[in-house]
């Protein structure tokens, strides 16, 4: 069965060699590469703690008892698999030039990466209707994931925050939330902050068209806000400098806010080389562990 086309085969395959490693511990059902937030009894030693009545005597460190004359129980860190939920913004502001295509490609690449490494990936897009693919693993699931992704249309008036709130209620276990949006919704970062405080590993992927960073020289233009319908008549050449400055400070503020909350932040524009940008991000993410 062929995959629905949302990302080129080259884009999907070139990043498979990278492990998508969650920086924070996540809980999961399957054993995998990711460290569990729960200190269970699997193979990887984590720490000692004082023995408490009821502890399994198999994990008492008798050698240490002989040296210190105190009882210590060995604790192990359980490795589990990752449940990643990609929340994609389908509001109308995403429908600008190749911006939504970029968001879809990013989601496709990251979802494929997660699934290829044996973890679970799901998709959530909340517009007038809710499109939800629960996080599951397996290559058969990838087909469903990509097909749903391909059918998304950025025509919603529902704010992105609604999708993030829905993600919080859908994720029963701690996992990875990848939010792909332009983040014109000012409340979105607050919703992500709440998800992070629920224990989710949150990645902010801000996708923008290149024209959004610097106004193209179109002469006199009546810009119509895609979401509010507000119109602003501007002489593009005259307004370009002030616009670029405001956008730059806004982007810096979004990034600073995200990092302050301990969220990963990736900014991608349609002019960027997607593979290079994602590789840089994933390598930096793995290097953080």
């Amino acid at each position: 069965m062929s995959r629905p086309h949302v990302a080129t085969a080259a884009e999907l395959s070139t990043l498979r060699d990278l492990e998508f490693v969650a920086r924070t511990t996540v809980e999961g059902l399957r054993h995998g590469l990711h460290r569990s937030p729960f200190h269970g009894y699997s193979a990887e030693f984590s720490q000692y703690r004082h023995y408490r009545p009821g502890d399994d005597l198999r994990f008492v460190d008798w050698k240490r008892f002989a040296k210190t004359d105190r009882l210590y129980t060995r604790q192990f860190r359980e490795t589990t698999n990752l449940a990643a939920l990609l929340v994609v913004d389908v509001s109308r502001s995403m429908d600008y030039r190749d911006k939504f295509a970029l968001a879809r490609r990013v989601a496709a690449v990251l979802g494929t990466l997660v699934l290829d490494q044996g973890d679970a990936a799901g998709l959530l897009a909340v517009g007038e209707s809710v499109r939800y693919v629960p996080p599951r693993s397996g290559h058969r699931h990838l087909t469903l994931f990509l097909r749903e992704l391909a059918e998304l249309v950025p025509s919603s008036t529902t704010p992105f925050t609604a999708g993030l709130a829905r993600a919080g209620s859908l994720l029963t276990r701690r996992g990875l939330v990848i939010a792909v949006s332009d983040f014109y919704d000012e409340d979105a970062l607050g919703a992500l902050r709440r998800l992070a405080r629920m224990g989710h590993d949150v990645v902010v992927v801000q996708t923008l068209a290149a024209d959004e960073l610097a106004l193209p020289s179109l002469g006199p233009v009546e810009y119509v806000d895609a979401e509010t319908g507000r119109t602003v008549a501007v002489q593009a050449e005259a307004a370009a400098q002030a616009y670029a400055g405001r956008v730059r400070s806004w982007l810096d503020r979004v990034e600073a806010d995200a990092r302050r909350e301990g969220l990963d932040y990736v900014r991608l524009t349609t002019a960027d080389d997607l593979e290079r940008a994602l590789r840089r991000y994933l390598l930096s993410r793995r290097g953080g562990h």
């Binding site: 009546e222 806000d225 008549a233 002489q235 005259a238 956008v247 806004w250």
Partner: protein
């Protein structure tokens, strides 16, 4: 090689270049509606103020200005000044042909001129004055007045040509039968030996002299002229005055005095003489054989003054400029289409 204009005053219309510039700067460009992800970072710009300061499409503006200037140039009558054309302009002649009578002017005089006109009036000097007025209005570099006449003495003289400007040449061509010898007979009534006599004289008219000889004298039984006074007292005076007039001689028409005539007594001898001359005498001007001499004509004639600045002649160069305007118009349309397509 240069360029000149037949109507340089039209260049005032070049001020019309301000029109496309003003239109270009003042016309508000059509606002293009563009759906944009977010307008929160955009502030409205006063479009008109910007458009007055910013020239957006220099090539299009320059094209329109060039189009207006070329159109004005075409209206001003551009003429390319080449050495060949200059030589041709110097050879141009405007010729006014003055005729003594209304006979047709010689074809070669008319054909050899770039522009010509003929003038014929009852008096030669009037025709010359007309010709001068016409010649002064002509543009070509060489202007001349050609007078075709027998140049009878009295019909014209050097004073008639004093009104001709120095730049206009005068050429006098003797024509007609002025040199022919003509013979005329003329009657004269006179008073000899106490009675009226009809004298017949023979006039021999040659170009250089007039010979008058009496051929015969016929006494009359009575005077064929009766002068009637208002009162019987004045009749004697009237008859005496008639005798006095006849003693001086009274010229008769060529056919003679066939029937007796009657005139009223004017009161004086001179008045009676004038009344009878008016009644009987004929003009002999047409018989005048004497003509101006070649030396006299040569003194009047002069060649036309060569013009230092020959007047350019319309050679249809404006058509070429109009073609350029048309080409620019097509280019302008193409550019505007191109802007739309962008």
């Amino acid at each position: 090689m240069g360029i000149t204009f037949l109507q340089p005053a039209v260049w005032w219309a070049a001020l019309a270049v301000a029109l496309p510039i003003a239109i270009h700067l003042l016309t508000r460009a059509t606002r293009t509606p563009v759906t944009f992800p977010s307008t929160r970072f955009l502030e409205a710009t006063p479009l008109a103020a910007v458009s007055r300061r910013v020239v957006e499409d220099w090539p299009l503006l320059l094209l329109r200005v060039a189009m207006v200037l070329l159109a004005v140039a075409a209206l001003a009558g551009p003429v390319l000044v080449t050495p060949a054309r200059e030589a041709a302009w110097r050879a141009r002649v405007a010729r006014a042909v003055v005729l003594e009578d209304r006979t047709a002017a010689p074809e070669d005089e008319l054909r050899s001129a770039a522009v010509s006109s003929t003038f014929a009036r009852a008096r030669l000097r009037d025709a010359v004055a007309d010709a001068v007025r016409w010649a002064e209005q002509q543009q070509p570099s060489t202007r001349e007045i050609v007078v075709l006449s027998t140049f009878r003495r009295g019909s014209t003289d050097a004073a008639d040509f004093a009104v001709v400007p120095a730049s206009i040449g005068v050429r006098l061509v003797r024509t007609g039968n002025g040199s022919a010898v003509r013979e005329r007979r003329i009657g004269r009534l006179t008073w000899r030996d106490g009675r009226a006599v009809r004298v017949t004289e023979r006039l021999l008219l040659s170009p250089r002299s007039t010979d008058v000889r009496e051929e015969s004298a016929q006494p009359l039984s009575e005077v064929p002229i009766r002068v009637t006074a208002a009162t019987p007292d004045q009749q004697a005076d009237a008859d005496a005055a008639l005798r006095a007039v006849l003693r001086r001689g009274l010229r008769l028409p060529p056919a003679g005095l066939l029937e007796p005539i009657a005139v009223e007594w004017p009161g004086t001898v001179e008045g009676l003489a004038r009344a009878l001359e008016r009644r009987l005498a004929v003009s002999l001007d047409a018989w005048e054989p004497e003509t101006l001499t070649d030396q006299e004509l040569a003194a009047i004639a002069r060649p036309p003054a060569p013009s230092e600045r020959p007047t350019p002649v319309d050679a249809g160069d404006r058509r070429m400029v109009w073609a350029l305007v048309l080409g620019l118009l097509v280019a302008e349309l193409w550019m505007r289409q191109g802007v739309t397509w962008r």
